[in-house]
């Protein structure tokens, strides 16, 4: 029977949404061989997060706490996670394949000589044999893999699972990790950090996204998209081709190598719908596409489509929605 350890990331004392997804995934996995979920939290003050992990389904939580872990630094976190993995004696370590996962998974697997698999969406278990399921070839195909080593490090794709809901009646055990950290392992010097504040809506958390692609033809049209987003109370996103053209910053990129999003409404304008783009919006509830090419692959995934030059559609769409949503507000008030 395999023992599952899941790394749950915390932010100012709360579990991240990716961490809660990873807990859902891990519970499903552990259930399939009647085991329990063990979690590890890392930081300088993680008691609240450890309790939240228990409420969200962990039975044992390893608490890797040290003042040096107050801010994320890859070498220190790697060392803490490595120590916890070892101490827990788990076989399978689950992490979200998010920003931190991208730093940690390859190195951790190499360090413990484990099998490593990333972008995992799902698994199957048969006679204690686990198959890991992930997309390949830019999401055009799906592959099933078996690990050939005893230990496995698994990176799951964000937005692929529901977030675990806390049940405060659950009880569990918290175990400290025996860390022996020293700042000496940090060799590079941080000279600048620029991050948007937590109150800014990130693409990942947005309910409505208005996204533009290369088909917009010029940078200025993104101002119209911003206006549409403002009317709808949403945010602007972009395809990689639009980012590469320098029309918008790369942090607006949606897709496999950009943000993986899960809005209620995704409006794609002048976006062809390459598989790498679509893989970022698989969890979008409703997709609207405006594209003048009826054969554009985006229409194979959109729920509502308009085959037309966006220039003839966009101005009226903004006006109409302004009218309608203005009215809606009044009737609600």
């Amino acid at each position: 029977m395999s023992k599952v350890l899941v790394y749950v990331d915390q932010l100012e004392g709360n579990l991240s949404s990716n961490a809660r997804e990873a807990l859902t995934f891990s519970k499903g996995l552990a259930n399939s061989f009647a085991g329990n979920v063990t979690a590890v939290v890392i930081g300088s003050n993680v008691e609240a997060a450890a309790n939240e992990a228990i409420a969200c389904g962990a039975t044992i939580v390893y608490r890797a706490e040290d003042p040096l872990l107050a801010d994320y630094e890859v070498d220190l976190y790697l060392e803490a996670l490595y120590t916890a993995f070892h101490q827990s004696d788990a076989d399978i370590l689950i992490l979200p394949f998010d920003r931190k996962g991208k730093d940690l998974i390859g190195r951790l697997a190499a360090r413990v000589q484990a099998s490593a698999i990333t972008e995992v969406l799902d698994f199957t278990v048969e006679d204690n044999d686990i198959k890991w399921i992930r997309p390949i070839y830019g999401d055009k195909a799906v592959a099933e893999y078996k690990a050939t080593r005893k230990k496995v490090v698994v990176g799951i794709r964000p937005k692929s699972h529901e977030q675990a809901e806390p049940d405060n009646a659950r009880a569990g055990e918290i175990i400290p990790v025996h860390l022996n950290l020293s700042n000496d392992i940090v060799v590079n010097k941080l000279i600048e950090k620029m991050e948007s504040s937590l109150s800014d809506v990130r693409l990942e958390d947005a309910n409505i996204i208005v996204a533009g692609g290369k088909g917009l033809g010029e940078r200025e049209v993104f101002e119209d998209l911003q206006e549409l987003a403002n009317v709808l109370g949403g945010v602007v996103g972009a395809s990689r081709a639009a980012c590469d053209a320098g029309w918008v910053p790369t942090n607006l990129q949606v897709g496999q190598t950009g943000a993986v999003v899960a809005p209620d409404l995704y409006i794609a304008i002048g976006i062809s719908g390459a598989s790498q783009h679509l893989s970022g919006i698989t969890s979008a509830k409703t997709i609207v596409a405006i594209n003048n090419d009826p054969d554009a692959p985006i229409f194979k995934r959109a729920n509502i489509g308009i085959v037309k030059d966006y220039k003839t559609v966009l101005p009226t769409l903004i006006e109409e929605l302004k009218k309608k949503l203005g009215k809606e507000h009044k009737t609600h008030a």
Binding site: T118, R149, E192, K193, N251, D309, T312, E320, K324
Partner: protein
Amino acid sequence: MHIVVCLKQVLDPEIPPKYFKIDPETNRPEDDGDMVMDSYAENALEAAIQLRDSVEEAKVTALCLGDEESEDVLRRALSFTADRAVRVWDDEWEDLDGQAVGHILAQTIKTIGGADFVLTGYQASDIEEGIVGPVIAEELGSSCITLVSDLVWEENTCKVTYETERGYGVLEVRSPAVFTIVSSEKNVPRLPKVKDVRLARSKPIEEIEMEDLESLDIERCKSSLKLERVYVPSREVACEILPGEDGPELAKELADKMVELKVL
């Protein structure tokens, strides 16, 4: 300064889904299609060349683990003015995973004299493991900065800009280090000069074999994953194409529809 950039040859990732099929016998894409340089690796190549050009006496080695066909990516690297091209291969190395590739590349880097900085793409455009760079770092005992969008050489140090969850950070990095590169305005691949393309044809490509790698661990050259099955899923959604020819009319219909469906 010795800069090594790792280049992978991949199936053209932009092939439209309707032409993409998997051969169930081999679990590989049918009729191999066009092979191209992995796109983030190409960004890494551009970044490596720019870094070299800003540092006196620096050299770039382009390194590829692959069969003879993959020499194309090394020719391309030479046409970008890479100083040296190295291909490492053994016929036993089929279906390697990222960990095996990382191990072999790291051992090759040691064999060719080590590197101050190693650049890889952040995630290859075919299997997209996103782990080769970090594995190389671990194997070489160097630091690893992932999702790097810019590198500059200033006052004898390497300043590295990388993406964070909600923005970016800048690090002053000591060698040895591995960087995994994402595309950015700074590393848009150049159009090689005709002269350089011609020169590249006559430059040598060094070949390295398993026997040449002294500290190679045969166990670590085996894939840590076994591919059981690959298939093309059908995920088509029935799209409701709004009927009509007139743009503004269609816009009104769409606005109605969005309200009707309560998506707003």
